[in-house]
Subunit: 434 residues, 2 copies
């Protein structure tokens, strides 16, 4: 057993002082506030581990590179496809290891990797048809965090069924059956869960959705939903309903389904998602890609459980994502005070982990997974602030210590087994140079 | 003479490699790209020093403390006034020194301090009527950065002339003449300039504006402008015109006048400000306070020179402010690509310094002030990105070395003469506890 002593810890929705946390194996076996200072000292505020519920690991290679010529959407998309075209299982393992290393340093103890880069050039499968997915799983293990691999159906390039072209052919299994044959050979394990995804109503034909929903029953399932108005318009034109309604009609909204983005919704859509659905917001990406501001408060009020993702990794900082939910709602409404710190932290932790198939993570409580994240109260950003309001002041740079499933991954702001910055530089450079 | 060697430097609007920068006293005396590696090595990308064109130093005490009970506007305002009520020259010197230290660490080499907390409790002047302003000047010196003290007229609590109450009485000099008598005794000096401010059309009566403009001719003058729609409505009701028009009519828009915020403008207002005015945007504050998104692109297109400020210091990070201008415009328009990195960096540097009365700062060029800011290209945030897109990837935590007027202030991410985090903690705690 390891005994940790936290100067401050977030327990049961509030900040407690001098908290003793006992850990055996991968579990928390004791929690007591007002304890004597003994064991391994974690200074600052100790939070449960963060869940990054929506990641496309390879997008990290684009950071800071899509704003040339002012950075139109097409600047971004062109480079995104160039990188997608160049990756192979080895280079993707290297890149994803670095990206998950950056996540570990930011206090993220589990990633939901929305994965569609399945096959080799021109869509020819690798000898191991899951070589790319398995590279992502291996990368998460290497970086010391858990992963839920959300393996995506990606078959068309439009709601109208337009075929995939160029690099997009790497995404396709031909049809739903082809996807399922490959998918069913994926294996989870220690720190690894397998989930599924429908890329979107643009990329996943409606005729196979109902069977998909049956085949993935009980698994975490993620869907990109209404990120841009154009998707809604195309769906109305072809199906006469919104994407949310189409997915409802085909039975995709199961208890473990997450709608990702959910930016442009009707009142009816919000009602559907409010029936206990997970909704993953990605504020830094939605701002970077000019998607707009989603109806976060309305979704939460309707009954949706909000989660958070860094998506395109323009930023990897769950504090930024969490406060972005509140701050963007302020921009949209011109009022303050929509989400309290506790709600935002729940989205960043317990709700996120549960949505990824880890309902036993995301809380500092007996029986839960021993994910602990110590955040400095003594950086220039956090000094003098109230620990209870830390989510509004801290950044990923303030994370000092990270424990995942009882194992130390980060100490003093450094990853214990890798030089993350060097790994990012080395794995990125060749991918982005022309 | 000191010779610096920058791995990369931002020169003449682009990134050059291996740049030798010669510094004599407070000036740059030589700049040459493609130089041999000699002298003091500055790794990463070296930028000109940042100007923080709008600061209320004491608001830093509120960071992370105004979101309890979800954080309404009133939560914020109540705490802001509580802190304002408690400060005296000694405690304000201590707090501002810490805040300016945080700015130095973020690469800010000059602050524009918009100062209205002039007098003692109940509005009784201190023995030195400028004790508070002089405390701010001394604080900037202590922290090693330049300051332009923008001493503000603050006489009423509404456009209708409603008198000040409670703690607000500390802000008032009674009338414009009283303000001017105190103001004219302020003295600049090495690294210190004196400018003036009209708090806003709410706090500065219209009848004295024209004389104010004459008395402050040639000085930097700042005005809070149309931060919230309520100000516009009140101004229309009393004066039958917008705040921008009222200030135009009274001759306040001089070449050295800066409009701060300028969030809610008419097309006519934009045309007026486009006639070469400075406009200081404070995106992190405008998001935090739910002000809304100002017409940044339209102002720049009309001819305004944009500058940046961290204002309430919810965040002190000029990278965040700079990219916030572009990112919030994306949220408002649902398109990417409004501002290039070069425009954003100009706002953060040359334009900001010029607006504060330091036209010889903000560029790495011969004859300019020797303000140099080295930003790591090797942090987990910046590794693998393009140096030319750094403003979209870096944070204040990536600033490693800062030289102000030829003097080293920050080395290896640490302030050379103070423990900034400890200073922030020590100077804040008593002010905010009830």
């Amino acid at each position: 057993m390891t005994v940790y002593h936290a100067g401050h810890a977030w327990i049961g929705g509030k900040v407690e002082r001098d908290v003793r946390i006992d850990v055996s194996g991968d579990r928390i076996t004791g929690v007591r506030a007002g304890a004597e200072r003994t064991g391994e000292i974690l200074t600052g505020l100790v939070l449960p581990g963060f869940a990054n519920a929506h990641s496309h690991a390879f997008h990290r290679a684009l950071r800071g590179r899509t704003h040339g010529d002012r950075g139109s959407f097409w600047t971004w998309r062109e480079l995104m496809y160039r990188v997608a075209g160049r990756l192979d299982p080895d280079s993707y393992f290297a890149l994803a290891t670095a990206v998950y290393g950056e996540m570990a340093l930011a206090g993220i103890t589990c990633v939901g990797e929305f994965h569609y880069l399945h096959h080799g050039p021109d869509g020819v499968p690798y000898a191991d048809p899951n070589a790319m997915g398995n590279a992502l799983i291996a990368a998460a293990r290497e970086a010391g965090i858990r992963i839920t691999l959300l393996d995506a159906v990606y078959l068309t390039s439009g709601v109208d069924g337009k075929p995939l072209e160029g690099v997009q052919r790497r995404f396709s299994d031909g049809d739903y059956d082809g996807w399922y044959r490959r998918f069913e050979t994926l294996r989870g394990g220690d720190g690894v869960r397998i989930g599924a995804a429908l890329h979107s109503v643009r990329a996943a034909p409606a005729d196979g959705m109902a069977t998909f929903a049956q085949r993935t029953d009980g698994l975490p399932v993620h869907v990109h939903l209404s990120e841009q108005p154009a998707e809604n318009e195309a769906c109305q034109a072809v199906h006469g309903c919104s994407p949310t309604e189409l997915l409802q009609d085909r039975g995709v909204w199961q208890p473990m389904t997450t709608a990702v983005h959910a930016t442009h919704l009707t009142a009816g859509d919000i009602e559907i998602l409010g029936d206990g659905q997970y909704v993953c917001l990605c504020p830094t990406t939605e701002r970077d890609l000019a998607d707009g501001i989603g109806p976060a408060r309305a979704l939460a009020d309707a009954g949706a459980a909000l989660t958070l993702g860094s998506d395109s990794h323009a930023v990897i900082d769950i504090f930024e994502e969490a406060r972005g939910v509140e701050l963007d709602e302020r921009l949209a409404t011109r009022r303050r005070g929509h989400f309290g710190a506790g709600e935002l932290l729940t989205a960043a932790t317990a709700a996120g982990h549960a949505s990824l198939g880890w309902p036993d993570a995301g809380e500092i409580a007996v029986g839960r997974r021993a994910d602990l994240v110590a955040v400095s109260l003594d950086s220039v950003r956090t000094a003098g602030t109230d620990p209870a309001g830390l989510v509004f002041a801290a950044t990923a740079a303030d994370v000092t210590d990270v424990i995942v499933d009882g194992r130390r991954v980060v100490t003093g702001g450094r990853h214990r087994s890798m030089d993350v910055a060097a790994a990012l530089r080395n794995s990125t450079t060749e991918l982005v140079l022309s």
